[in-house]
């Protein structure tokens, strides 16, 4: 404990020193108008950022007690690194949002405020697959730590023009995926299929092949045979069939490349997030046709996106302000606004009902496909180790295995052995 204290003291001291150097002093809890200052660190860019800021503006218009101060902190992973460091230095904001897989880790570290005790937080009508209760195995039995902000699943997007011209339909099985990709590939001109070589899509394929990345006892099995099968499918598409381009770049750089290749007609069908429905529809010069991810032995998709979390060490007034903002955020009007403007899935059932009543899904069949695919959601395990297994162990090995065509079985056994050790 003393070692931990001394380290924390060092980190805190260094942070205080840097705050002092920049003229900082103890931060005022209230602003000049007597409103509670609620710091919010966020990681959304482009239209998602505009929508979040608009919801903050609407919140300000409804009350005079709380002033939300949103600060952009880079992408999800940069923002998480900053949040973690700020928590260690006891300088974290009250409200932030993190990717789903990191919630169990932060909860185990006792850094998150349970939100059940705040007025109106218990029993918020989340869409089962997207709230903590349904997004995690056993998520309902735990205190409420995460409130869904922007939630998504992987989705397949097809270039309607290319598909029509070739007279093919979106693939519904893995073997159809291979055949369609072969059929639509024009060497040097167009790839049949493209998908970021990333943990999220691999997890989807592991589920489709009948496996799970963690077993019921919390061991990282990485899908066993299903994991190998999923990885081999990618390797075959890239190296043997030569119908899939492994997009360059890590994390969201690769995602961006996939989107641009699709929009530029250089990829006939891609897998990416439901979050890009609006973006792709608005920017494509061809009809964008969304379809569920194909199955191997079953349909399966993980959820993605982020959860709002409230930092335990924040002052009580800020935490209460955060809970109040979250309640406002979860109102049907706000949840529907975020979903209709971006493509993220509506997080509450009243928001879904509102959108349906307004004829949104009838007018936007791609969003309807994303809604239907929620029936295939595979919840994440509530494992503190989940994020480490994803970032430290599996993600870098997937890219290596696909690009360098490494033995899939050997790569995953090595990853399994590493996952079994303390981090």
């Amino acid at each position: 404990v003393s070692a931990r204290l001394s380290r924390r003291a060092f980190v805190a001291g260094a942070s205080l020193a840097s705050l002092g150097a920049t003229g900082g002093c103890k931060r005022a809890l209230r602003d000049d108008h007597g409103r509670v200052r609620l710091r919010l660190w966020f990681s959304l860019g482009g239209r998602n950022r505009e929508v979040l800021l608009e919801i903050v503006r609407r919140f300000h218009a409804t009350q005079d007690d709380i002033h939300v101060e949103p600060v952009y902190q880079g992408d999800y992973f940069e923002s998480l690194a900053k949040l973690r460091t700020a928590i260690a230095a006891r300088a974290a904001p009250a409200l932030s949002h993190v990717i789903a897989e990191v919630v169990p880790y932060l909860a185990r570290a006792s850094t998150l405020e349970p939100l059940d005790g705040y007025p109106g937080m218990r029993g918020l009508p989340f869409v089962p697959a997207l709230g903590q209760a349904g997004a995690f195995r056993g998520g309902a039995e735990r205190p409420l730590y995460g409130v869904p902000l922007n939630r998504s699943t992987p989705l397949m997007y097809c270039n309607g023009e290319i598909f029509d011209r070739a007279g093919v339909r979106p693939p519904t099985t893995w073997s159809e995926l291979v055949d369609t990709a072969k059929h639509l590939t024009r060497p040097g001109e167009r790839w049949g299929h493209e998908v970021p070589i990333s943990w999220w899509f691999w997890v989807a394929m592991v589920g489709q092949a009948g496996g799970a990345v963690f077993d019921e006892q919390g061991r990282a099995t990485l899908g066993d045979e299903a994991g190998v099968k999923a990885l081999r499918l990618w390797q075959d598409l890239v190296h043997r069939d030569k119908v899939m381009r492994p997009p360059p770049g890590r994390d969201y750089d690769a995602w961006n490349v996939v989107n641009q290749d699709f929009l530029g007609g250089r990829a006939a069908f891609i897998w990416t997030s439901t979050a890009y429905i609006r973006y792709l529809e608005d920017n494509a010069r061809f009809p964008v046709v969304a379809a569920p991810l194909p199955r191997d032995v079953r349909h399966s998709v993980p959820t993605g996106g982020t959860f709002f979390v409230v930092v335990k060490q924040a002052p009580d007034a800020e935490k209460a302000a955060a809970a109040r903002f979250l309640r406002f955020f979860c109102e049907a009007e706000q949840a529907a606004f975020l979903s209709t403007r971006t493509g993220y899935l509506p997080i509450t059932t009243p928001a879904v009902d509102t959108m349906r009543a307004a004829g949104f899904f009838a007018k936007h069949p791609n969003d309807e496909v994303a809604q239907r695919q929620l029936a295939s959601v595979e919840p994440w395990p509530w494992e503190p180790n989940l994020f480490r297994v994803e970032r430290d162990i599996v993600d870098p090995r997937l890219e290596e295995a696909v690009l360098l065509d490494r033995d899939a079985r050997a790569v995953l056994s090595e990853a399994r052995a590493l996952a079994a050790r303390p981090g």
Partner: protein
């Protein structure tokens, strides 16, 4: 020279020793200590002894990081020195045109790493970059400069050379101007050609300058971070994960302070070995000259 009081040398050393202790020795000691724990800054640290070292050494990961960093350093040091020296010899001429070219080449050195990296990312884009257009025009095959695991490290080294060659050139120019003109005139009278004069007069007198350029280029190459972070993020397939980036990745991306600290300690030891080797080479050269 004998100090008037034995305290005086310590008083002179004091300020810099204090700065070194605060910013080098204490953090290094802390890193060495942290490297014995599995710790993520938020949960209880667990003592694991040498397990972090074993983990980074396992499966040849440490060797690969070290090999990549050394390979990158060799390319950067040799490339920037050769080009810097060549440009200095070519451009060591009077006149506005040569001054403009020297200034243009040096300008890359003063531009920030972030701007340079972003510029090259655009230039090397495999579909829309200038490099791709040129390759297509010449009917050459498409090259994934930043996406092919076999090409990415060389590309990063090329960008680094492009950026720091101006600096090497300026230092070599200063060295060239310190070479007495009379030696060249005497050698010319004895019938020595340009190549012989360079081999027997210029190069021996430039050796200290070359050693300085070599050392600074080595430091730059071992500290490479911005260029990796922006251009490749350590990929593809970890082909450009150099030492400093690997440390950053462990602590900030993978939440593993212990393993990052172990890498930092190894990094320090590697630099100690390199510095010792350089010092040894430098001393042997100095002794040789005295003899």
């Amino acid at each position: 020279m004998k100090p008037r009081s034995s305290v005086h040398p310590w008083l002179m050393l004091g300020p810099s020793l204090a700065a070194w202790t605060l910013f080098v020795f204490v953090p290094l000691g802390l890193a060495a200590y942290e490297s014995l724990f599995a710790w993520d800054m938020l949960t209880e640290p667990v003592y694991v002894g040498g397990a972090n070292y074993a983990a980074i050494a396992e499966n040849g990961e440490l060797a690969r990081i070290l090999g990549r960093t050394l390979g990158y350093s060799v390319l950067v040091v040799s490339g920037s020195m050769t080009l810097g020296l060549g440009l200095a010899v070519l451009l060591d001429r009077p006149g506005g045109f040569f001054a403009f070219v020297r200034g243009a080449i040096f300008s890359a050195y003063v531009v920030s790493w972030v701007a340079v990296a972003l510029l090259w990312v655009l230039l090397l884009d495999p579909d829309r970059g200038v490099a791709a257009v040129v390759l297509r025009a010449l009917h050459l095959p498409r090259i994934g400069f930043l996406t092919d695991p076999h090409a990415a490290l060389v590309t990063l080294a090329g960008v680094t050379i492009w950026k720091i060659t101006g600096y090497a050139m300026v230092v070599f120019l200063a060295g060239l101007r310190a070479v007495p003109r009379s030696l060249h005139e005497a050698a010319s009278l004895d019938g020595a050609g340009a190549l012989a004069r360079f081999r027997w007069i210029t190069w021996p007198l430039l050796k200290p300058t070359a050693a300085f350029v070599g050392t600074t280029s080595l430091i730059v190459s071992f500290q490479a971070f911005d260029v990796v972070r922006i251009m490749t993020g350590g990929g593809p397939a970890r082909a450009t994960t150099l030492f400093v980036y690997a440390i950053y990745e462990q602590v900030f991306m993978n939440l593993s302070v212990g393993r990052a600290s172990a890498l930092a300690v190894v990094y320090f030891l590697v630099l100690c070995v390199l510095a010792a080797a350089q010092l040894r080479a430098w001393r042997s050269q100095t002794v040789g000259r005295r003899a």
